[in-house]
């Protein structure tokens, strides 16, 4: 399937940046090397898209991608380079907000890009046992015995160790939609 079809067939639970990154990573242009815009172009697309999915995007990246693809479209030696550039341009056109959300580190709408996922403790399930606090190597979990624990999103490194440590099944991973909960530890309601 060529890039533009991949973009057009994007499913609800897929992230455009992630899908595009995978399409670019396995594109024919990577195996050729005979023209600068095809080969170095796809190398840049891959690196930029990877950065964006990994929360390392820059505010100028969307513009940079558009600029690069515009040149790849007219300056690649063969159709392959043109094809991938058109695919990326179409994606940028249709899903511009998704790209901007990633690049400005707001989040991954589809909840696919791992670096954008956040961990949360559900207030109604937390028993205040403290197991997760012990398991967190980054000291990102606030609380004490019989208080509902709260994850400090600024400290959390998204390692997921707390999920395994929690016997209550109170810790979940969230994408674009975040669960509501207390901002700081409060006494447990659960007996």
């Amino acid at each position: 399937m060529n890039t533009i079809d991949i973009v057009n067939n994007l499913k609800e639970n897929e992230c455009i940046v992630d899908v595009l990154f995978k399409a670019v990573s396995s594109h024919k242009c990577k195996d050729c090397g005979k023209c600068v815009f095809g080969y170095e172009g796809i190398t840049q697309l891959e690196m930029i898209l990877k950065d964006i999915t990994e929360k390392r995007g820059r505010s100028t990246d969307v513009e940079l991608l558009q600029d690069l693809c515009g040149m790849m479209k007219t300056q690649s030696l063969c159709e392959d380079g043109v094809e991938v550039a058109e695919g990326v341009l179409a994606a940028l056109d249709t899903y511009k907000k998704d790209f901007e959300d990633h690049a400005s580190r707001r989040g991954c709408r589809a909840g696919v890009c791992e670096r954008f996922l956040t961990y949360h403790i559900l207030a109604d399930k937390c028993g205040g046992c403290g197991e997760c606090i012990d398991a967190c190597e980054d000291g990102a979990i606030l609380g004490k015995k019989r208080f509902i624990h709260v994850i400090d999103q600024n400290e959390c490194m998204q390692c997921g160790a707390c999920v395994a440590a929690c016997d209550c099944g109170a810790i979940i991973r969230a994408g674009a939609v975040k669960p509501k909960g207390p901002k700081r530890p409060i006494p447990c309601k659960r007996r």
């Binding site: 990577k30 195996d31 050729c32 090397g33 005979k34 023209c35 600068v36 815009f37 080969y39 170095e40 172009g41 190398t43 840049q44 690196m47 930029i48 950065d51 100028t60 940079l64 690069l68 040149m71 007219t74 300056q75 030696l77």
Partner: protein
């Protein structure tokens, strides 16, 4: 047709690309993947231009010029494409220019400096590839590859060797050798075209063959630059490969009038520098020269120049290789030349120093006859007047080329006993058919080729046991490995790394006392230091001792010229002596060297003397038309492993029974086969060097 670039009307040829037309007209357009000798591919886009009537910029290397075309080189669109392309290349190219062997000579560096760009707005990536120095002659630093494909096109299309290609690696696509092979395994012919066309430092000459005291071209073709007379070796070897021995000889004759002599006895410093050494053994350059001359018909004579008489007279003292060479070229420049020779026959050391089994009289006679044909008066068995007398008797210029014909003895106890000889006299008498008598056992003192000449002559004169003793160990000895090996086959006993303490005997030589050398070297003051092994003193009983420890000039003291280092004539770079109009060349100036060095000196003397006599000093000759060799060398099965061909040699038993030539010339087939091993290092110098922007 006419096209317009940046408002300037220029001429373009039918079918020419816009890039080529611009460059030819002196208008610079940046370019990298395009090379004047290779098919354009349009991959790098540095040469993008805007053309009136076209929406997008196009690569000028791929655009054929059309009548009336209006082109803008630095329009905003083209400029953006060009700069972005360079930025993208730089983003994955190592940034440490100063650590690159191409620093300052790099096309890529020159282009990006011209364009003034940097890759700052792009993601950077290093495609690390380990440096590969495991191949002979060619070093691969593919971390610096920009995939321009020039080396691939050179290897595939220009040379037809088809070794290099785009390869896929974990670190991406780059130029390289498919299937993880070495260059040799892949069938590389080591022509160096890839090095020549690489615009970065990805493919470079192996460091050890690039010597700082030589120019680029000299390093690329080291055989030719090492030859004292600069014979165009690759060129004549190519003709031999094609079976054209006449043209091969003509090439040699453009520089030296003694092809077959040199082919028989040259010290061939060229072979030590032959790049094929890195693949095993060098090309048999010397013997190929002999094969060419041996099959020559003399066609070169038709093109030999002989200028109109100048009415100037030159005298040459000594008819050795230096004197005869100078006389030859002076005569061709129209001067009246007289050569004085003390001996019965001309040839100098070639005649009286080198044994007949290496260089027979007939061969020398034939080549000297060709030289004399240029119109030279030769006075043999004649003691020459002094240079001053010669000048007084009407000679306008004089050359002293008397060589070094006096053998020397070391200050050793017993060195004046009957039965002690010196090399020069011993060899000369043997050559004249009036040999000095030798007993059953003979010892030669010395470790050079002359020592072997003496020893092998003694064997042929009937000595039953012949020894050679020298201070140097076998690796340090100046005699060639061939000579040592052939001597060994003929039964010569070598005492290398031995000091000679004294010659024993009362009224006749009885033996030589030797002691083993532990260390032998020259100290910081260039004085020889000899450390002996205690208790290793022993005597070898012999009937004769022959000193082969160096020779010096004879009779120079009475010539009225300034001398140096004892009997040697002092001469400057122009070979002028202390007396105006008197020149000196060859061994008498340099000390005993080689025939080829003497010939080269003879050429220099002729040039300088011609200038002194009012000529232009140009003795160069074109004995054949210049032909551009075919760059398409193609594939040769197992090329890297082709073994050096050896000519047929008589068995040692047969050799020692007389003074017949020991080695046969190559047969034509052998010669063509051996010539086919040549790497043709000179071919890459025919590849056009792209001009950089500073040249416009």
């Amino acid at each position: 047709m006419k096209i317009t670039i940046d408002g300037k009307e220029i001429e373009a040829r039918e079918g020419q690309s816009v890039l080529d037309a611009a460059l030819e007209a002196g208008i610079f357009i940046p370019h990298l993947c395009s090379h004047p000798d290779l098919e354009a591919k349009g991959g790098c886009r540095l040469c993008s231009v805007e053309i009136e009537g076209m929406e997008e910029p196009v690569p000028s290397c791929m655009t054929t010029a059309e009548e009336g075309m209006k082109i803008t080189v630095n329009g905003p669109k083209a400029d953006k494409i060009r700069k972005t392309a360079m930025e993208l290349m730089l983003a994955t190219h190592p940034a440490d220019c100063t650590g690159c062997p191409k620093y300052g000579k790099c096309e890529m560096q020159s282009m990006y400096q011209y364009m003034g760009v940097s890759p700052e707005r792009w993601r950077k990536k290093s495609r690390s590839v380990p440096d590969n120095e495991s191949n002979p002659l060619i070093t691969h630093l593919f971390m610096r590859c920009v995939r321009c494909g020039r080396c691939i096109r050179a290897c595939q299309d220009m040379r037809g060797v088809k070794v290099l290609d785009y390869i896929k690696t974990d670190m991406g696509i780059r130029a390289g050798i498919p299937d993880g092979k070495s260059l040799k395994e892949a069938g590389c012919r080591f022509c160096g075209a890839c090095i020549e066309v690489c615009p970065t430092g990805s493919i470079v000459d192996a460091l050890k063959i690039m010597k700082e005291d030589r120019s680029y071209a000299e390093n690329v073709v080291p055989c030719r630059s090492t030859c004292p007379a600069h014979i165009d070796i690759p060129r004549y070897i190519r003709y031999i490969k094609e079976g054209d021995f006449e043209k091969a000889t003509a090439v040699v004759r453009e520089k030296v009038p003694f092809p077959e002599t040199l082919g028989s006895i040259c010290t061939h410093a060229c072979e030590s520098e032959c790049k094929r050494n890195e693949l095993g053994a060098p090309i048999s350059i010397c013997k190929l020269k002999r094969a060419a001359a041996n099959n020559d018909t003399g066609a070169w004579k038709e093109r030999a120049v002989k200028e109109a008489p100048t009415r100037k007279k030159a005298a040459v003292i000594g008819a050795g290789p230096a004197g005869l060479t100078a006389a030859y070229y002076l005569a061709k420049k129209g001067h009246e030349v007289t050569v004085y020779e003390k001996n019965e026959k001309p040839g100098g050391q070639c005649r009286y120093g080198i044994p007949a089994y290496r260089l027979p009289d007939e061969l020398l006679d034939k080549e000297i006859a060709d030289i004399l044909e240029a119109g030279i008066e030769l006075k043999c068995s004649t003691e020459a007047p002094t240079p001053e007398q010669l000048k007084a008797s009407g000679y306008d210029a004089v050359l002293v080329s008397v060589g070094t014909h006096q053998g020397t003895k070391l200050p050793l106890e017993g060195n004046d006993l009957p039965g002690v000889y010196v090399d020069a006299e011993f060899l000369k008498r043997a050559r004249m058919g009036d040999p000095l008598p030798v007993g059953e056992k003979v010892m030669v003192l010395g470790g050079g080729n002359v020592a072997y000449d003496c020893a092998r002559t003694a064997v042929r004169l009937g000595a039953k046991e012949v020894h050679i003793a020298c201070l140097e160990n076998e690796r340090q000895m100046t005699s060639t490995p061939d000579e040592i090996e052939e001597g060994r086959e003929e039964g010569i006993i070598l005492h290398s790394a031995h000091s000679f303490l004294r010659i024993t005997g009362t009224d006749q030589v009885a033996g030589v006392e030797l002691q083993k050398v532990d260390k032998f070297y020259f100290d910081e003051n260039r004085r020889a230091v000899i450390e002996l092994v205690e208790g290793s003193k022993h005597e070898v009983p012999v009937d004769n001792v022959i000193f082969a420890v160096g020779q010096k000039p004879e009779g120079t003291a009475s010539m009225g010229l300034e001398l140096t280092h004892g009997p040697y004539i002092r001469a400057n770079e122009k070979l002028e002596t202390s007396m105006e109009g008197v020149y000196a060349a060859g061994d008498v100036v340099t000390g005993t060297k080689s025939v080829i060095a003497a010939i080269a000196a003879g050429r220099t003397a002729a040039e300088e003397m011609d200038k002194y006599l009012g000529g232009n000093g140009d003795i160069s000759e074109k004995l054949l038309d210049e032909e551009i060799p075919d760059p398409y060398i193609g594939q040769v099965e197992g090329f890297g492993d082709l073994e050096r061909v050896s000519p047929q040699m008589a068995g040692a038993d047969k050799r020692i029974s007389g003074f017949d030539l020991v080695e046969q010339p190559f047969t034509c087939e052998q010669a063509q086969c051996e010539a086919g091993r040549c790497l043709q290092c000179d071919l890459r110098l025919n590849i056009t060097k792209p001009k950089l922007w500073m040249d416009y």
